[in-house]
Subunit: 220 residues, 2 copies
DNA sequence: CATATAAATATACACTGTTTATTTAATAAT
DNA sequence: ATTATTAAATAAACAGTGTATATTTATATG
C-alpha cells in the first residue's frame, strides 16, 4: 500500500469529515466509545493521519463540544423566532422547551457537554466557556427584557448577596437566569441520564408542568 | 514467581480491599482513570485475580456506585439528626446543604453517580435504582411530614397532571420532592462540573441563597 | 528538472479489559 | 498419611486504545 494516495483518492475537507464521522459514531455508539482509530477506519485512513488536523484526542473532543454548543445555541435562537417580543412568559417557556427538545434529540451531544463521558478529558475552559455562554445569554436576554418591562417577580424574601461580577446586567436577572438554568438542567440531565425514580411515569409531562409552574413563579 | 502466594502473604478481605483501592485511585486521579490493572498493581496482585471477585469491570463500577449511594444516604440521614421534627424548613435546608456538602467533599463519587465518567459503562438499573432511591426517600419523607402538618405550599396555578405511580404518597409531595431534587442537583452538578459562567463568583453563597429562596417558596 | 514541502503511512510503545490454560496452596476424603 | 479435590492465584496472549517517531511519496515551487 502506498504511503500516500493519489489526489483523486484523497479525501477533501478531511478536517470536517473527521468531525462528521465522530458525530456519526457518537450517535451510534455513545460519546464514551469515541475512538480515533475507529474514525480513521471508517474514513479509510490511518489513525496518525488525524494528528495532522487535531494535535491529540482532547483537541478533537473540544472541537466536538464547541460544535455541540453551537448547535444548542442555534436551537435556542430558533425557539424565540416564533414568539412575540413582549410575550415574556411565552418566550421563557419556548426556551425551556427547546432546551429539553435539543437534549432529547441529541442525548449524546448533551452528555458530551454536561456529562464527563471521555476518559481523562478536561475541557479547556477558555475555549468551551465562551461557547457555553452563547446558550445562556439568550435566557439572560429574555429575562432582562421582562425585568425592564417590570414583569420579573422578586424571588426571595431576603436580599440577594453580592455573588456576581455583573457588568450592566441586573443581579436579580442573573440570579433568575442561573437558577432557572440549574432547574431545567437538573430535570433534563436526570431524564437523559435515566436517574428519575420509576414512580415518575412521563418525564415530558412532568417537565412541561414544572416549566409552567416556574414561569408563573418567576414572571408577573 | 510462584503462581500463588503463601497464606501469610495473601491479602485478607481482598474483595473489600479492591473497592478501597479503587476509591483511593478515583480520589487521586478521577473516576475516569479507573483501571483494573492499576488497582492490581497497587495491591501487588495481577489483574485477572480481580475477576475472582468481580466478573468484569462494570461489576466493580456498579459496586462502587452502590457504595457511593450508601455514603450519600448516610450523610442525608446524619443531616437530619441535629434538627427538630417540626422544623420543616430547617430540615429541608439541612438536607439541601448536606447534598452539596457531600458532593463537594467527594466530587469524584458525585461524578461517578451522576456523570458518566466510565467509558462504555451502563448501570444495571435494577441494582442502582434502589440504592439511589434511599437518598431521595428522606427528602420525600420530610416533605410528607410538612404536607401532613399543612405546611406544604401549593406550587402551581394549574392542576398537577397524573404523572406518578404513587402508592400512599401524595402526588403534590412527590412533585415537590422531584422538582427540589432536580433544582439542587442542577446547581451542584454545575458547580462540580465547572459549568458555571465566570460571572458567578461564589457558588456556595449562591447555593445557600437559592436554597433559602426555595424553602420559602415550598413551605408555608 | 531538481528541490522542498505537505500529507499520509508504517512501525512501535505503553497502556487497557479480558480470556485461557496452568500452577500451586489449602482442604477434604480415603 | 497419602491422595484427590478445590480454590485462588499467575502467566501468557489477544484485541483494542492513544500517541510518538521515522519514512515515504505526491504535489507544489524554484
Amino acid at each position: 500500500m502506498s504511503p500516500r494516495p493519489h489526489r483523486e483518492r484523497q479525501i477533501p475537507n478531511l478536517h470536517e469529515r473527521i468531525l462528521h464521522t465522530a458525530w456519526q459514531q457518537i450517535a451510534a455508539e455513545g460519546a464514551a466509545a469515541l475512538s480515533l482509530r475507529a474514525i480513521a477506519r471508517q474514513l479509510g485512513i490511518t489513525a496518525p493521519a488525524i494528528y495532522r488536523y487535531y494535535p491529540d484526542r482532547d483537541a478533537l473532543v473540544t472541537a466536538l463540544i464547541v460544535d455541540a454548543f453551537t448547535s444548542f445555541a442555534a436551537w435556542q435562537a430558533a425557539a424565540l423566532e416564533g414568539t412575540t417580543p413582549h410575550d415574556h412568559a411565552g418566550r421563557l417557556c419556548a426556551l425551556g422547551l427547546a432546551y429539553r427538545a435539543w437534549a432529547v434529540a441529541h442525548p449524546e451531544r448533551y452528555q458530551l457537554i454536561f456529562g464527563t463521558p471521555i476518559a481523562g478529558y478536561h475541557a479547556p475552559l477558555e475555549i468551551t466557556m465562551p461557547a457555553a455562554q452563547r446558550g445562556l445569554s439568550l435566557l439572560i436576554q429574555v429575562l432582562a427584557q421582562a425585568h425592564a418591562a417590570g414583569k420579573l417577580r422578586p424571588l426571595s424574601p431576603v436580599p440577594l448577596p453580592a455573588v456576581f461580577d455583573a457588568e450592566g446586567v441586573d443581579p436579580q436577572v442573573l440570579f433568575a437566569a442561573l437558577t432557572l438554568w440549574c432547574y431545567v438542567h437538573g430535570m433534563v440531565s436526570n431524564e437523559i441520564g435515566r436517574q428519575y425514580p420509576p414512580v415518575l411515569r412521563d418525564a415530558e409531562v412532568f417537565y412541561r408542568h414544572a416549566l409552567q409552574t416556574l414561569t408563573a413563579q418567576y414572571l408577573l
